[in-house]
Amino acid sequence: MASERQVGRQSAEGKRGAPAPALARVGSPLGGILTHAFLLVAGLAVAFPFYWMLVTSLKTPAETTQLPPTLFPQTLTWDNYAEVWRAAPFARYFLNTVFIAGSVTLGVLVTAALAAHAFARMRFFGRQILFIALLATLMIPFEVLLIPDYILITRLHWEDTYLAMIVPWMANVFGIFLLRQFFLGIPGELWEAALLDGCGHLTYLFRVALPLARSGLSVVAIVTFLGSWNALLWPLVVVTRRPEIRPIQLGLATFTTEFGVYFHLVMAAATLTILPVVALFLLAQRQFVESIARSGVKG
């Protein structure tokens, strides 16, 4: 309503001035130049930290601390990467994270698909109450769970295990709601036809619903994987005595503390850490962007 009123006001103002040619909206040359100038400056500012990371990681130790700093390296060397590899078990961190993030993602896909199907296609006792209870957990900030969950983990004797990093995050309410939305979007006739054919819930879910909800699954998978790959706070708390099971972010954070003054090494380690995710992102950009936009929109 408000907006329509404002449109009215705009047009009143417009009539007073000279009518603008309709073509103006394609953009005056000046507007185009300004747009590009702004985007270019902003783009350079956004890209610079990546450039600086990469360039530093390829500089010799001496050049890294040379004054004034060199914007373009004089000599390029891969030695820093080899040294990082020797100084800390980054390959192991990497494999740990693939295992942890992979298990969490797979777990979330399975638990969320099952629960979403129950909420989408089944009538059962206590359904609304459960739905509201699950919805309410979305409001709980992670910081509140940190201490009780850590104490739970110690009671289970799961400190310093992969289990501690995987099991608590194998179910995800956002995933359930998103997949439920997708399942509700599948025409009811398909479900009825499946019932007539003597199809059970599991068969329908795996043969009919999941293949049709592929894009929903990829949203859940990407968001979960990214969150798990980039997590620091929880691993920091539950992994203290077994450095060999550290995920990569914890490995990098520890490396940064220990080798903080050797910037060429820290930058090489940072590059190694973000490389897999950046590569995945560049390969599947559209899915990434769509998924993350949706993750905010909460289905």
Binding site: V7, S11, A42, W52, P69, F125, V277, G296
Partner: protein, 331 residues
Amino acid sequence: MDLLHWLDVPADWRRMPAHRRRRFVRESLGAYGFLLPTLVIIGVFHLFAIFFAVYISLHKWSILKESYVGLANYADLLRDPQFRHSLGVTLWYVVGTVPVGLVLALGVAVLLFRPIRGRGFYRTLFFLPYVTSLVAAAAVWQWMYNPDYGVLNLALTKLGLPPQRWLLEPQGVFQLALAPAGITLPAWAAGPSLALVCIIVMSIWSGLGFNVIVYLAGLGAIPKELQEAARVDGASEWGVFRHITVPLLSPTTFFLVIIATIRAFQAFNQIYVMAPNDPTTQTLTLFIFQTFYASSRAGYGAAAAMALFVILLLLTILQMRLGQERVSYGE
């Protein structure tokens, strides 16, 4: 009757034939089979945990439970200067990241929404920091902020400005700005420390892509006719933006303000990497973490976490209220 309805039992339960009752029970059991993994995990690590957190917060609890202390932890929090200080730091952090981040994102999104060359490239570029881990990004920014060899001080000296200590500077930025004029501000007016502002700038950089993407989606949902009609009527580009685009984007802005505020309150990784031990950058999340992790005070930390929870709940309720009054949905 009402209870039955709330529990999703069919309304005519009492009059239903036995075989239909059995079918409902069977289907309910089946559904719980589907829900079991979710209910166990969410039930234990989220739902039970939140009640457990309240329980812990009512105890003196370091490594193990020691004694019931009622609300003493909460009373101590109110008196704890470190806690109050961390609240102030958190507020500066939120006020620093959210409005600037959203205005920048809106600007970028509006420009990227135009049919310009290189749109896809820019979109990818702006989004890249968001998929980059905060730990790695924080390490890079820490290096750029390095007072001795960092690239930012190189830029300042090239511009003829005095070099800064960036993340190592605990002085307030207002104080720093006025120091050359010989003015000394009282502590409360000194502003956020330069170290905190450095973290704020990095966080804006990191979150920009997400905000841009959501704004682009919002822009795509605005009917073109309104803007075109206004242009035909002679409205300037700025007028269209100010009086049509911005009001019609208000649901998106509203959504982003809530999300960005909640996230800002929860920021941890970048602060932990860039300035873990500086009191001027110790936000509430860092305070909770340090209380629990470094000082092993689980009870006290849990109370502080509950305080964060209450603040976030109140903020969300407040924003919902305001939103209902102010947001225009264009209908």
